[in-house]
């Protein structure tokens, strides 16, 4: 039908799949999709055959069965009769707790060490360099074990507090530092909304509400001060007003409700009363913070060094005071460099908290991926759920990184 003199017609030839750039990418993608499908099929088939060989099956029914074991630290109600699912939730909360605490303290350690490493004091700068290098170059696993061992060996056991020839004594008579944990006085209200469990909750809700109100109050005061400053050039003193707003209502409420502290006391085998921060929590918390702190210190240092000296000089030339140069010129630019790696360090903390099993802290790896897995033998199910949990957390944190990155991206025109 085609005549040679016709302009080449769009007829499809098989070789175009490879040689024509319009189709080639399609070909590759189809090949990739087929290869992917086949490998998934292959793995699934192997799995099915293996399970069938052994008469096993994948079932999540064990999650509803009683867990049967106790957990030493729980943020929600849990007994050994609760389900495996609940045990997993206790673990998840514990993971989130230690990750959050470690993120806060690691940031403090890191900023401190990063700034001090740039200090003009030679000795301090060298010590910080030593700290950063030694923590960055030794595996976190070894640090966790070493810190746990140090804590256990150095702090006294509760037994050392007992008897007339006690070798240890309580700090200021109100707090006890033992290798089982730190016991500090716990606040409670004698004239609260009721002695019942729910009444105590309302007390704390009231306090929290006050803090929120104080926060907005203080903001309003500062905003007013700024307005006055912009109008008249004179900033009214806000310090006393702010202090009053923050602490006045709190003190009134504390007095009204009869705030008292429960002092921990050695009773039986352990200290009772007050607030207990468990030893395993402290060990993993401290180990993760000091380890990740070394990495954050490097980020902070790099961030500060990344702001070119010209910025400082230009700001100085404009007549800005040194303190304000830091807060208005250097820091905003340094933060752009510091924050993305900082958040990925937070991600690392969350993932490294899975090593908590080494110190006996009941995080999700220790409950769902540890004791539940051991007791039920449901390895595949437990590991899948475990990975799912970490994946969700990581994706959430990565999402935050992306939002931040977009918001501080240099607006190029």
């Amino acid at each position: 039908m085609t005549i040679l003199t016709d302009p080449p017609k769009e007829s499809f030839r098989l070789s175009m799949l490879l040689n024509d750039t319009r189709y080639r990418s399609l070909t590759f993608q189809v090949i990739a999709a087929i290869a992917l499908a086949f490998s998934i099929l292959y793995l699934a088939n192997n799995l099915a055959r293996n399970l069938a060989d052994q008469g096993l099956s994948i079932s999540f029914a064990f999650l509803g069965a009683p867990a049967g074991y106790d957990i030493n630290q729980r943020l929600i109600e849990y007994t050994s009769q609760s389900t495996n699912l609940r045990a997993a939730f206790v673990g998840i909360l514990n993971t989130l707790l230690v990750a959050f605490l470690a993120c806060v303290t690691a940031t403090i350690f890191g900023v401190l060490a990063g700034v001090l490493r740039l200090s003009k004091n030679w000795l301090v700068a060298k010590i910080m360099a030593f700290y950063v290098e030694i923590f960055r170059n030794i595996p976190v696993l070894i640090w966790i074990i070493i810190i746990f061992t140090i804590m256990t060996a150095v702090l006294p056991g509760p037994r050392a507090f007992r008897g007339d020839d006690a070798t240890a004594s309580m700090f200021l008579g109100v707090s006890a530092f033992t290798n089982r944990g730190i016991y500090i006085p716990g606040p409670y209200f004698t004239r609260g909304f009721g002695a019942a469990e729910l009444g105590a909750v309302w007390d704390w809700v009231l306090v929290l509400g006050l803090l929120v109100a104080s926060f907005f109050g203080a903001r309003a005061v500062n905003a007013r001060a700024t307005r006055i400053q912009e109008a008249t050039g004179i900033r009214p003193a806000t310090l006393t007003t702010n202090l009053a707003i923050w602490f006045g209502p709190l003190i009134v409420v504390a007095l009204a409700l009869g705030l008292t502290f429960e002092i921990p006391e050695l009773k039986g085998f352990n200290f009772k009363g007050g607030i207990k921060v468990g030893g395993p929590l402290i060990a993993i918390w401290f180990a993760l913070s000091i380890y990740t702190g070394a990495f954050i210190a490097e980020n902070v240092r790099a961030g500060i060094l990344a702001v070119s000296k010209g910025q400082t000089e230009a700001a100085a030339a404009l007549g800005i005071r040194p303190g304000r140069i830091m807060s208005l010129v250097i820091l905003p630019q340094a933060l752009r460099v510091i924050i993305p790696p900082l958040i990925s360090n937070y991600l690392n903390i969350t993932k490294n908290s899975s090593l908590a099993i080494l110190v006996g802290y009941a995080d999700v790896t220790a409950t769902l991926g540890g004791i539940t897995l051991n007791q039920t033998g449901r390895a595949i199910e437990c590991v899948l759920l475990l990975m799912l949990f970490y994946l969700v957390i990581s994706l959430l944190i990565s999402g935050i990184i992306n939002i931040y990155n977009n918001s501080v991206k240099l607006k190029e025109r």
Partner: protein
């Protein structure tokens, strides 16, 4: 039994090893070694010594099976497993049998599809406490902090015991025995709980073992024994009857010392059947006639293995107790060789 050839090349290199098909016996014979799962280190039961040789009570069982099947008690690859990895290792065929002080429970037998072939040690969970604590019974432990070595049924028994007695406690789960022990010695926990045998073994390594007492309560039944996969009954039979051969040998007075003499033939028909001079028992298992003789020669009979690894003359110093022969008031009993 088809493997890709490249995987075959890897097998040669020792990177990929073993096959798990129905006939474990054939695999073991073809491979020339027995893959036996043990603990990562529990002195007395399975632990490598200073020169890297595995020794212990569970190891003795592995060696006996290897001797029975392959005629060589050294033809064993010991695969260290943790509480987490042991069942997968067995189910996936990485190991042929598991001798890792594993408690025989209903769900493990039925739900996880394993076959416990017998009991080589009757254990129970106990408590160890420092003498200065002045505790004489586990029921006095209200409010105590308890160190647990995780990975066994320990956590569950502990929870059950304290719940049944309506007292509170605080568990500190620790991964390895060495770390749990360190916590205990430093006073980070008041009592240490694990199987009574493990407690005795641990106490034996202390600087001052006399400062610590084992509380009288044994809160659980822990029949520990070797296990194999469901579905390969021939292999299960071999492991079961190797263990039984060791027990029967002690009952009949067959020891590694006199076995040479006895295997020449005796007046006791059961000894003859055991040692293969009479009857066809080895053939029925698919092994040669001297299988039980080899198994016993590997490390002695049940009593000898016990005495050598965990008996009263070792640092661990366990009495036979429940693990005495049934003729001496214990529970160790083997069906007859007939």
């Amino acid at each position: 039994m088809k493997k890709s050839v490249f995987l075959g090349a890897l097998t040669v290199a020792g990177l990929a090893a073993g096959m798990s098909a129905a006939a474990t016996l054939d695999d073991v014979k073809a491979r020339g070694t027995l893959n036996c799962g043990v603990t990562t280190g529990l002195v007395g039961f399975a632990a490598p010594d200073a020169s890297g040789e595995w020794e212990g009570f569970d190891v003795g069982v592995c060696r006996a099976v290897a001797a029975a099947v392959l005629g060589d008690s050294n033809a064993v690859e010991f695969v260290p497993t943790t509480g987490k990895t042991r069942f997968t290792a067995l189910a996936s065929g990485e190991i042929d049998m598991l001798a890792r002080n594993t408690t025989w429970t209903f769900s493990r037998d039925v739900d996880l599809k394993f076959e416990f072939v017998g009991v080589n040690y009757y254990d129970g969970q106990g408590f160890m406490a420092p003498k200065e604590l002045g505790v004489s019974s586990a029921k006095d432990l209200d409010g105590a902090t308890v160190c647990i070595q995780t990975g066994t049924t320990t956590e569950l028994n502990l929870a059950d015991f304290f719940r049944a007695n309506n007292i509170s406690y605080e568990p500190v789960p620790i991964e390895t025995n060495a770390e749990a022990q360190q916590q205990y010695l430093a006073g980070a926990c008041d009592v240490f709980t694990t199987d009574a045998s493990g407690l005795a073994a641990t106490r034996a390594t202390f600087e001052n073992p006399g400062d610590h007492v084992l509380l009288p309560e044994i809160v659980s039944k822990e029949p520990l024994g070797p296990l194999v996969r469901h579905g390969d009954n021939e292999w299960g039979d071999i492991v079961r009857w190797t263990l039984n051969a060791l027990i029967t040998a002690e009952e009949l007075g067959v020891t590694s010392a006199n076995i040479g003499e006895l295997s020449a033939g005796t007046n006791n028909p059961e000894v003859n059947r055991l040692l293969g001079t009479e009857g066809e028992l080895g053939g029925m298992l698919g092994l040669d006639a001297a299988w039980a003789k080899n198994a016993i020669m590997a490390g002695g009979n049940y009593g000898e293995i016990f005495e050598k690894n965990i008996g009263e003359n070792t640092p661990i110093g366990l009495a036979r107790g429940l693990n005495a022969m049934w003729t001496e008031g214990g529970l160790i009993y083997s069906p007859p060789f007939r």
